[in-house]
Amino acid sequence: MTDGNRALLEIDGLELSFAGIRALDGVSLSVTEGALQAVIGPNGAGKTSLFNCVSGAYRPQKGSIRLEGAELIGQRPHHIAALGVARMFQHPALFQQLTVQENLLLGRHHRYQSRWWHDALWTRKARDEEVAHRKKVEEIIDFLDLERVRKTPVMILPYGILKRVELGRALCAEPRLLLLDEPAAGLNQEETEALARYMLDVKEQMGITQILIEHELRFVLELADRVAVLDFGRKIADGLPRAVARDPAVTEAYLGGAA
């Protein structure tokens, strides 16, 4: 765990319900800057709902989400993205007909200064900016070893590479907070290990704070600095990975009362 202990993201008493179903019931979570925070829990525990609240896709009824003191609730998703929150979706939500390079450039969309009329007339400003952002995209392509598929339309790529492109698109935004929603789901052993390597590089080289949702406990316990456990919309544990793994409440949530 990093030493600074300054909280980048503070979630406080978050409540979200859909027509009587409590998806989140008073969830609080504090994520330290530079840390790799994991959020685990059984299916339907509210993990993805939590991400949807942070990225602005859902609007919780109560509570607050502050990124370095700035309230995120009520902001439109693209504003939250501009504040430095990037997200990798559970099921790759890439733009099917665009190439890998175009998908990655879209990750940088909110960093552009040029307006549509600059683009339409291909002014010097639009051209220079396109080149400048392309340079950053190439850095990410290099980081994630995507050179071979740079100009390939995303729809014909295999699942393992899609996940990497999805991570790349989030990284291209140069976010301060990266939300990873089950990045290892559907990956084989080799791809999972490569992904873990990338995540550690993101933490150590880029210093980006990450929140990881994951089912596979071993993956989480080996990677994360801290683990929070959700069950039926409530946080039932929060702490260092080893301590959480031994917590009887967590075992019960995962394995049922009989365990």
Partner: protein, 356 residues
């Protein structure tokens, strides 16, 4: 010999004509387009005018439907607005054509932006139905508005006189011996087509176009990435209806009078067909889809004369019977449209002498 130039600068990767094959293509294009009006007869020029109007209109359609994924059946309404604005400004107020044309585009764009808010809440077929409503509304307003203002539902276009080979034409652009009116109109249209295609291609290769395509493919993911979907749709509607308005103005120039007759649902559907026929999502598709659509229909008319149809069938009937099944079959076998064929030809030569 390498089939592709090695790209060493990002600027080169963005170039419109990146290698010598593209540059050769430009030279060939300039020669063909430059010589055409001198080699083609009056009929050839009329078909070319129609083709170029369709290209500008189809590019407008492509920006909205092909890039941004918003299905609109109201495209003809924007063409009608452009055409009538130009006719009224020229006829009643005596504006010159170079001023009336962009204003026609702007009027259409203004109305297009009014439809924008509907697109923020409606998608797919629901939006399509709203745009049909717009089409009928514009038709109704123009029909009755003209009836009240002029007491007739058609307008004469003074600009048309400047471009026809008619000694009684009104001022300005009369035959000065160097170029005939039809040839002048051809070059004016050519400049408009090139400008429209250039803008469309710029949108396609830059941030604005990427945002539109992101909204088309997955709008929620686009928002979470930082794309303002509402603004993107507005820009798409504005640009699209602007070009539709320009196409309408061009239509007015090419005809002595404008009536509301052609600006119906058939025209809207025709533009969607052009976009699909050419290959959705590219400027290339809009240009070639529009050209194929406008050039093949007369060709089918000619072919229909020589085929054993019952004599009661008009030449128009025969053309329709030939053209539309051919269109259906073509799309069944090549869903990417003309773009798909072009990609296949390109791949063949890039891989040559190998098969793949």
């Amino acid at each position: 010999m390498p089939t592709r130039k090695l790209v060493t600068r990002y600027e080169d990767d963005l170039a419109l004509f990146p290698d010598r094959y593209h540059k050769l293509g430009v030279v060939a294009g300039v020669v063909i387009l430059g010589l055409f009006p001198f080699l083609a007869g009056a009929y050839g020029l009329t078909v070319a005018h129609a083709g170029m109007i369709a290209v500008v209109g189809a590019i407008g359609m492509m920006i909205l439907t092909g890039f941004c994924g918003q299905v609109s059946l109201g495209h003809a309404a924007f063409l009608a607005l452009g055409a009538y604005t130009v006719a009224i400004l020229g006829g009643t107020f005596g504006w010159p054509f170079w001023l009336a044309l962009p204003v026609g585009g702007l009027v259409a764009a203004g109305v297009g932006l009014l439809v924008g808010p509907f697109a923020l809440r409606l998608e797919g077929l629901y939006l399509a139905i709203v745009t049909v409503g717009l089409l009928f509304l514009v038709d109704h307003l123009l029909r009755n508005g003209l009836d009240i203002a002029y007491g007739k539902d058609y307008l004469t276009v003074p600009m048309h006189g400047w471009f026809v080979d008619d000694p009684s034409g009104l001022g300005g652009f009369r035959d000065d011996g160097l170029l005939s009116g039809a040839q002048k109109l051809y070059f004016l249209f050519l400049a408009l087509v090139l400008g429209t295609a250039y803008v469309s291609k710029n949108v396609q290769r830059s941030r604005t176009g990427r945002a539109m395509m992101a909204v088309r493919d997955r709008d929620l993911a686009a928002e979470v990435l930082g794309v303002d979907a509402a603004r993107t749709k507005f820009v798409a509607f504005g640009l699209s209806s602007f070009f539709a308005g320009i196409a309408g103005g061009m239509y007015a120039f090419a005809h002595p009078i404008v009536t509301l007759e052609p600006f119906g649902l058939t025209m809207s559907v025709g533009y969607i067909a052009m976009v699909v026929l050419g290959g959705a999502g590219t400027t290339f598709g809009a240009v070639w889809g529009a050209l194929a659509f406008t050039l093949l229909l007369p060709l089918c008319e000619v072919a229909g004369e020589h085929l054993p149809f019952p004599d009661a069938f008009s030449s128009e009937n025969r053309a329709v019977i030939l053209f539309y099944p051919a269109l259906c079959l073509f799309l069944v076998f090549e869903p990417l449209g003309i773009l798909g064929i072009w990609l296949r030809i390109k791949r063949y030569f890039m891989a040559w002498p190998f098969r793949y």
